[in-house]
């Protein structure tokens, strides 16, 4: 469960203050796969990074798993982050470490005993179907495989929440589908709540049960995708919801 209460983020730049996120509230229920969609520069990634305080909000409160992260000491915050997995557009694996060592990383820093670590590493790699790549280096893997390793790494400490920052934006459509399948399975099997940022509408359609549309640092509209028909009222939401559908139609003609 994630609760954002009036969080905002202002960046100080040489040319003055830049408001990346205007005071924004968001409620992500347990078991949700919640999408945040918008064009680049809308502030989606910044908003996501406020959730685990990689970026400290300028104002507002962040509550994850019932814990007010904004009030924690740095030590307590590190502890809390172990239960919040995160994956990225460009995977961010440690290139000089093997697949197994990458997945082991969060366990090692959490002080999990060695024997237990090895077991958990295998388990997590089995979940993403990469058990045979234990001793490979990231450079030997395809983009999709790298993202699967990143997912395994994010799962290692049994997180309750998984934050996904454009997880499929660097991948081709086919690989995208397989990554989304894994995310869906993780959500279903382990009850991991997922908050996902993307600019691809098909990603939202494929896996999200809720979506918020972001524009210029504001969440301008929210939809529950399981509830009947969606009638976007803002220009941007209409663009996002209708444009891809039109694209699909043209593809059907071709």
């Amino acid at each position: 469960m994630i609760v954002l209460q009036e969080v905002s983020k202002v960046f100080k730049t040489p040319r003055g203050a830049f408001q990346a996120v205007h005071p924004t509230s968001l409620f992500v229920d347990e078991g949700d796969i919640y999408g945040i969609i918008g064009f680049s520069g809308a502030g989606k990634s910044t908003l996501l990074r406020l959730v685990n305080l990689i970026e400290r909000p300028t104002s507002g409160t962040v509550i994850v798993n019932g814990q007010n992260l904004t009030s924690l000491s740095s030590g307590e915050l590190r502890e809390a982050r172990r239960k919040i997995g995160m994956i990225f557009q460009h995977f961010h694996l440690i290139a000089n470490r093997t697949v197994a060592e990458n997945v082991e990383f969060p366990l090692a820093i959490a002080g999990v005993p060695k024997a237990k670590r090895r077991e958990r590493v295998r388990e997590c790699l089995r979940i993403v179907g990469l058990e045979d790549k234990l001793d490979s280096y990231p450079s030997q893997l395809s983009g999709g495989q790298k993202q699967r390793v990143a997912i395994a790494r994010a799962l290692a400490n049994h997180p309750k929440v998984l934050l996904c920052d454009e997880p499929t934006s660097a991948l081709d459509p086919q690989t995208t589908r397989s990554i989304l399948e894994f995310l869906k399975e993780i959500n279903r099997r382990f009850g991991v709540t997922i908050l996902l940022v993307t600019h691809e509408m098909n990603v939202v359609r494929e896996i999200c049960n809720k979506v918020a549309v972001m524009e210029q640092g504001r969440l301008v509209e929210k939809f529950n995708l399981r509830e009947g028909s969606i009638r976007p009222t803002t220009e941007i939401a209409r663009l996002l919801f209708e444009l891809p559908a039109a694209e699909e139609k043209t593809q059907a003609y071709v």
Partner: protein, 220 residues
């Protein structure tokens, strides 16, 4: 043709040992103290994990100042320090003091540069997993920068092999000192040539090993 050289063989062995001692101590100190200094330089810069503009500026300044000294001047300027530290200013160990003082900031700068090459996203991922900064240093920064660090060590070793030649000025001995004393002052050109050949060979060997090792540890 190399009559003088053969005659000098015992001295050459001694000089080789002195050079090894001077280079060994200074490179050792560079690794031991320069690495943390380089890491701190990196971490205290703007936008990094231990951002601290004052400390960064002070360290940055000190590193620049020491690196500004032509080595020959540093060698002489540090004689009081060497005497205070060791009670003597003569011999390879004494010469290793100014060598180390010069090598530490030099290596620190190279360490800082190597670590800057580590993608910020990888560090951020580690932060998101709840890693402490010491954990990030040990398990991310030094790991991802390791081939750069190997090459940095190679560069420092070769630079200070060359610098150690100047150590003859303060009675440090070594290959370079031998080349000057016999080759230059006594016009024994063959000794000079032999010493230069030894230095060339050493540099080639160090660079070869460094390149190999850097490639071996680079899995990127």
């Amino acid at each position: 043709m190399f009559d003088n050289v053969i005659q000098l063989l015992p001295e050459i062995w001694l000089a080789l040992g002195q050079t090894a001692l001077m280079v060994g101590i200074s490179v050792g100190c560079a690794l031991l103290f320069g690495t943390p200094l380089g890491v701190i330089l990196y971490l205290t810069d703007v936008g990094q994990l231990w951002e601290n503009p004052v400390l960064f500026r002070v360290l940055n300044y000190v590193v620049n100042v020491v690196r500004s000294f032509p080595f020959i001047i540093l060698l002489v300027a540090l004689i009081p320090l060497t005497r205070w530290l060791l009670g003597t200013t003569i011999g390879p160990v004494a010469a290793a003091v100014p060598l180390s003082v010069a090598a530490i900031p030099y290596f620190a700068r190279l360490v800082e540069q190597s670590i800057r090459e580590v993608p910020k996203g990888v560090i951020e991922a580690a932060v998101s997993m709840g890693a402490t900064t010491p954990q990030i240093i040990r398990r991310v920064l030094l790991v991802e920068a390791r081939s750069g660090l190997v090459l940095a060590t190679t560069v420092v070793t070769i630079s200070f092999l060359s610098n150690s030649a100047m150590a003859g000025v303060v009675g440090g001995g070594g290959i370079g000192d031998l080349a000057i004393r016999y080759g230059y002052y006594r016009f024994e050109t063959d000794v000079m040539v032999a010493m230069i050949i030894i230095l060339i060979l050493l540099v080639q060997i160090f660079q070869f090993i460094g390149n190999r090792l850097a490639r071996l540890v680079d899995k990127r």
